[in-house]
Amino acid sequence: MQQPSTIEELQEIVRQSPRVHVRGGGTKSALSSGAGVSMEKLTGVIEYDPSEFTFTARGGTPVREVETLLSGSGQYLPFDPVWVDQGATLGGTIASGLSGSGRFRYGGVRDFILGLQFVTGDGESHAGGGRVVKNAAGFDFPKLMVGSRGSMGIITQVTFKVFPRPQRYATVRVKVTSPLEGSALLQKLARSSLELACLDYQPPGEVVMRVGGLASALARRVERITELVALPVEVLLDEEEQGVWRAAREFSWMPTEDTLLKIPLLAGQIVSLEAMLSSIGLASTPRRYSVAGNVCWLAWPADRGPADLVAILSKLDSRAMAIRGKPWGVLGSVRDAEFQKRLAQILDPAGKLACRY
């Protein structure tokens, strides 16, 4: 494993190698297994000014390090990065395009990345975006890197927007009796102006939501959520409620031997996905519908191939990405290949960075 400690060293590696597969913290095994270059020595926060609501750090910086720094000034990354405890890096978070349950309120990783530096397939170092919270100049390279899994460039430095962290959170847990009831509750709550921070459904029977803000308003906000839910609720506070969301973002419910899939969808498709999973004998496979039903995190059994999955994706008119387990990459129909191909001709002319996973 090569471990460049400067951008120049990384550029040299890219120039010399026929193929470059980079990893950050290695928390997403389906994306990083077989990588020959580690970013773990390209780390460190370069600039952080709390009053700007921005920070700049090297690509290999662990998210945990940044979160600790931000929390010292009462700030946080509102898109709720995943696998923070297990060592996820900023660059890997962008390249995988993953956001956690908390992205419901203010948006995902794509909505908080302001600028970056990256090394292209010809070994050149480039910059895109800016360091200020608002910028409309030039092509949006920062967003292009989101979800690109290294294929558009290797992220060496990033600037993020951050927000003040809510003073206090509460979590409300509700039992539901069916996916229909669960998805209907997601839709109802997502349309309300109660401004939930997180809103997830764990089949078969639990909807869980988080609300954050000033401590003095929290009790009354929880009451209003309870009134809207109109079902018996359980209210969690402090460590217990933090544990719920830590478990969600660390995927501790997920059997390690299975393949973890991310499937974008709509809350209105949950019932049909649930029926399809039942029909292929996966009624009890662990899964979680996050972001008000806009994403399904699904544990696909290790002994199953992707054929059934591809059929499901076709019916959902969606795609899936394998994150842990089998290196299946992105599955499902592609309708933007021509655009991507032409971008790659410039950003990776020799095909060194192309995703083969």
Partner: protein, 482 residues
């Protein structure tokens, strides 16, 4: 000159009345919101369906005719100025809402749909479309997508790019692509993000999926008057440091207030040198809990008069005063240039002091209206185009301000885009190497530079600037700039 074969082929797609070629018919399309540029296109087509646009783009590609696709033409950067002997594709007739799903909080719209309509169709379900450029009553979603338009609520909610979930579009060679989808989350490379804000260089959006948000339950809008611009700027820093996250933080200086007063009788305190607008929004309980914190901050910040909107009408009045400021400057000066630079928020004070210095040294008045929360300045440089050399001198002041923004680590544009206007500064901001990379990407997507040729990237000759005064729709008070 465009070949007669090209027009013949267009005539097979468009009936007379939707294919315009006579001089008098073309005149209304000669310029956009930046009236200093004026170019007569070779022809105008007014498609009513995505298929017509696709066919048109394919013809342009085949005949090598450059095109500019545009909505209402409100660009403040000259981004939708036509190309001489090129085709202008006017998308205003493509204004259908294709799908509206309040359950999933999305709307799929055609590019010619007016920004405000996205909020109007969903108001009954308590939803709205968040990006709110000051031209929202006339500008189109397609134009917003091309230029990643902003508005007054960007710090908290982001720009257009953060509210577009999917796009069906046509690339400059007629290839039809689909980016993103209806869900808030996607997998794979975020090509949607790359397409939005590309200033039309990657082609034209045909169907746009918008994310709608629940309307905030309560607004608390205050307007605080200060005896100096510096005090207002410091108040912004205090609000930001407090941990509050207001939906909007806006500042106007004395000259801008004079203009708004003249236009809409905003009745700003006569001795105020700056006013600050702060808006909290959210659930009632949260806003009620935040309000005393904000009030104390504002009291401590040296504000000598604070007006709080007591109802929706008073809130609207505060916002009208702010949003009309640009156009209202037309009451103070026959001509003006709007700039759109961004500086890091902590450098706002420095930037404003320097702008004041530039203004005094040059003798050219500069009014300041800005999105203080995100450091997005809008200096309005006033001049009289009838005076020989005045436009050029105003341009020099504008250039100096943009260079200042670059020097302070900011951007040449926060929300108006580069267009024709700021191309000369593009390379100063990004450097030659990164500018070249963008140029190579443009060439890979559009080797013939068919789509919005000459915009954003500094490589082709620009039409000359002339002074033109207010845009006709501004004169009628139909549109404001911001």
């Amino acid at each position: 000159m465009i070949s007669s074969g090209f027009f013949g082929a267009l005539a097979r797609i468009y009936p007379p009345g939707r294919l315009l070629t006579r001089t008098a018919e073309l005149a209304p399309y000669e310029s956009d919101g930046l009236t200093a540029f004026r170019v007569r296109p070779g022809g105008v087509v007014l498609p009513t369906s995505a298929d017509e646009v696709i066919e048109t783009v394919r013809l342009c590609h085949r005949f090598g005719v450059p095109f500019v696709a545009r909505g209402s033409g409100t660009s403040l950067s000259g981004g939708s100025v036509p190309i001489e002997d090129g085709l202008l594709i006017g998308l205003n007739k493509m204004n259908r809402i294709l799908q509206y799903d309040p359950q999933e909080r999305i709307a799929v719209v055609e590019p010619g749909v007016i920004n405000q309509r996205a909020s109007q169709i969903s108001v009954g379900d308590g939803l709205y479309y968040a990006p709110d450029p000051s031209s929202a009553a006339v500008c189109t979603i397609g134009g917003n997508v091309a230029f990643n338009s902003g508005g007054a609520h960007c710090l908290k909610y982001g720009m257009t790019s953060n509210h577009v979930l999917g796009i069906k579009g046509v690339l400059p060679d007629g290839e039809v692509v689909q980016f993103g989808g209806p869900s808030l989350e996607q997998v794979g490379t975020d090509l949607l993000g790359m397409f939005v804000g590309s200033e039309g260089l990657f082609g034209c959006a045909l169907e746009i999926t918008l994310r709608l948000l629940p309307k905030p339950e309560k607004y608390y809008t205050l307007q605080a008057a200060y005896r100096s611009l510096e005090e207002a700027g410091n108040a912004v820093s205090m609000v930001v440091a407090s941990g509050l996250l207001p939906g909007a933080l806006e500042i106007m200086d004395r000259l801008a207030m004079n203009a708004s007063d003249a236009a809409v009788q905003a009745n700003y305190p006569k001795d105020a040198q700056a006013i600050l607008i702060v808006e909290l929004e959210g659930p009632i309980e949260e806003v009620d809990a935040e309000t005393p914190l904000l009030q104390k901050l504002i009291d401590d910040s040296g504000a000598y008069r604070v007006d709080v909107a007591k109802n929706a009408a008073e809130r609207l009045k505060i916002w009208t005063g702010r949003k009309c400021a640009f156009s209202a400057v037309g009451r103070l000066s026959p001509d003006f240039i709007v700039q759109d630079g961004v500086v890091p928020r902590t450098k706002l004070g420095e930037a404003l002091a320097r702008i004041d210095e530039i203004s005094r040294q040059s003798g050219i008045p500069v009014a300041n209206v800005f999105h203080a929360g995100d450091g997005n300045l809008h200096p309005l440089i006033l001049f009289d185009g009838r005076t020989p050399g005045a436009l050029e001198r105003a341009e020099e002041v504008a250039a100096e301000i943009l260079r200042l923004c670059i020097k302070l680590g900011g951007s040449i544009t926060g929300e108006h885009g580069v267009g024709l206007e700021k191309r000369a500064f593009f390379e100063e901001m990004f450097g030659k190497k990164d500018t070249d990379l963008m140029r190579r990407i443009r060439d890979a997507i559009d080797p013939g530079q068919i789509a919005n040729r000459g915009k954003m990237l500094p490589d082709t000759s620009a039409p000359a600037l002339t002074h033109r005064g207010l845009h006709p729709v501004e004169k009628q008070g139909l549109a404001f700039r911001s």
